[in-house]
């Protein structure tokens, strides 16, 4: 029977949750790297036992760990992330130039075809790649250098490159998203990049229709249709049908279109999940009710999914890398909260249960569907 492995990064360590394909009984392993901020862990689709983990600390900086046995044992790999050439400056919060300074890895995206190749999205925003299993890292500096880099500015959470989507139909195409710069695309394997933010409107920045400066929180795509992108922006849920060339809003009847996560059902490309948060000033769910919203129409028409989720006095947040889906049938949906809960729905969102309830604040959730 198939198995599930959920990789959970938290403020104080990593946890690995495992179950069989029924997804009812769970084993919890951890904390791994206890006391460290674990921004993200992700397994290779080529070799699921190869897992990359981002371990960081305000005291001791960045450490990268790699497991080759599914998270049972770990070894450190390279932690030297050096910007290519002269790092230059981006804008600081007050609009003054500020030197690019590496702070941490927010997201690892292992290659779809090679277990030793992995991309790292970092703060201050840049994209790095390793082709030797994480031992050494090289910046794909065409992203920062494509022209708008000096205009990028951090959001309150830092100027992070948090989303990396590899196009399964075109190995030369990669999408990334940066807070608070926007979405970007390469069509030549990372050499050259351009902003893909046409149609985004952010009324809270000086030029609401600017080429860059939009606080994109998350992008998602379905592998069968990678030209269709879904976006949870700071405010607004957006969709592109042309690989980011243009965007249109699909917030529809959501109770709030602010939020962080967005994901797509594993078998239904038009079924999309978001988790509305009340506002950017109040980072908790509207009305104290934790509700995932599902659209089966690719947006605009949303239904609340509440069974098994707290419907009163709930004031947690769900951060941008903390939702994932498995590829079983029916599709499993997972998310983690800043209150330390990780929830699973084994039926596409209709019913939910808490796998764990008292972890440290959850930063990321990734799911591996094992043979």
């Amino acid at each position: 029977m198939s198995g599930i492995r959920v990789l959970v990064g938290t403020r104080k360590g990593a946890f690995i949750l495992t179950a069989d394909g029924k997804r009812q009984q769970w084993n919890v392993s951890g904390p791994h790297f206890g006391g460290w901020e674990m921004y993200h862990l992700k397994g290779s689709p080529v070799n699921p036992n190869r897992i990359y983990a981002s371990q960081s600390s305000g005291w001791f900086g960045q450490v990268v760990h790699r497991s080759d046995d599914g998270g049972k044992t770990w070894a450190t790999v390279g932690n030297e992330f050096v910007y290519d050439g002269v790092a230059g400056t981006h804008q600081w919060y007050d609009g003054t130039p500020h030197p690019w300074e590496f702070k941490r890895v927010w997201h690892f995206e292992p290659s779809l075809t090679d277990a030793d190749t992995v991309y790292a999205g970092v703060e201050d925003a840049a994209l790095f790649r390793s082709t030797d299993g994480g031992q050494t890292w090289q910046e794909l500096s065409g992203l920062r250098g494509h022209g708008t880099g000096p205009e990028w500015q951090p959001g309150a959470g830092g100027m992070c490159l948090h989303t990396i989507l590899l196009d399964p139909s075109n190995p030369q195409r990669i999408f990334v998203a940066i807070s608070a710069a926007g979405a970007f695309r390469t069509d030549d394997g990372g050499k050259t990049w351009r902003a893909i933010n046409q149609g985004l409107r952010s009324d809270y920045i000086p030029d609401p229709n600017a080429e860059v400066g939009h606080c994109v929180h998350r992008l998602a795509l379905h592998p069968s249709r990678p030209q269709v992108l879904f976006m949870q922006k700071h405010w607004d849920v957006m969709r592109s049908d042309d690989a980011g060339e243009s965007w249109y809003e699909i917030s529809g009847n959501l109770p709030s279109d602010f939020g962080f996560v967005v994901d797509v059902h594993a078998h239904e490309p038009e079924t999309v999940y978001v988790l509305p948060i009340k506002s950017d000033s109040e980072h908790y769910p509207p009305e104290g009710k934790l509700r995932v919203y599902r659209s089966r129409t690719g947006g605009n028409e949303w239904e609340a999914l509440t069974k098994g989720l707290p419907q009163q006095d709930c004031y947690v947040n769900v951060l941008r890398d903390a939702m994932a889906v498995d590829s079983l049938d029916p599709c499993g949906v997972y998310f983690g909260t800043t209150g330390g809960q990780v929830y699973v729905s084994a039926d596409g969102g209709d019913n939910w249960q808490a796998i764990v309830s008292n972890l440290p604040a959850v930063l990321s959730v990734e799911v591996q569907t094992l043979p």
């Binding site: 460290w36 305000g58 005291w59 001791f60 900086g61 960045q62 450490v63 450190t76 932690n79 050096v82």
Partner: protein, 98 residues
């Protein structure tokens, strides 16, 4: 032998308990001690000093014999009692809750 005390998380990372003892050739300086520490435990590279600039990470400080050496030149010789192994060289992290 030079005695070095590092914070809990770095001991865990390096897989050691208690003090670390290192053979360091003269002149024994902060730079020489950290070079020797990182040679013995490569996993610590980047966790105490920046990879490129070699600057001390902001939340860490260096002490020996009750003196704060954090702002001294990394090439200044360490006190004789550290060189003699009587007193340890400390890498200390800022105190924090949460």
């Amino acid at each position: 032998m030079i005695r070095v005390v590092i914070p809990y998380h770095l001991r865990t990372l390096a897989g050691v308990s208690g003090e670390v003892t290192l053979a360091v050739s003269a002149p024994v300086t902060v730079r020489a001690v950290l070079d020797a520490l990182e040679t013995r435990y490569p996993v610590l590279r980047g966790t105490i000093r920046d990879h490129v600039t070699q600057e001390r990470r902001p939340f860490l400080r260096f002490f020996a014999c009750g003196q704060d050496l954090s702002h001294e030149s990394p090439d200044m010789p360490l006190p004789d009692t550290v060189v003699a192994g009587t007193d340890p060289f400390y890498v200390i992290g800022a105190i924090a809750g949460g």
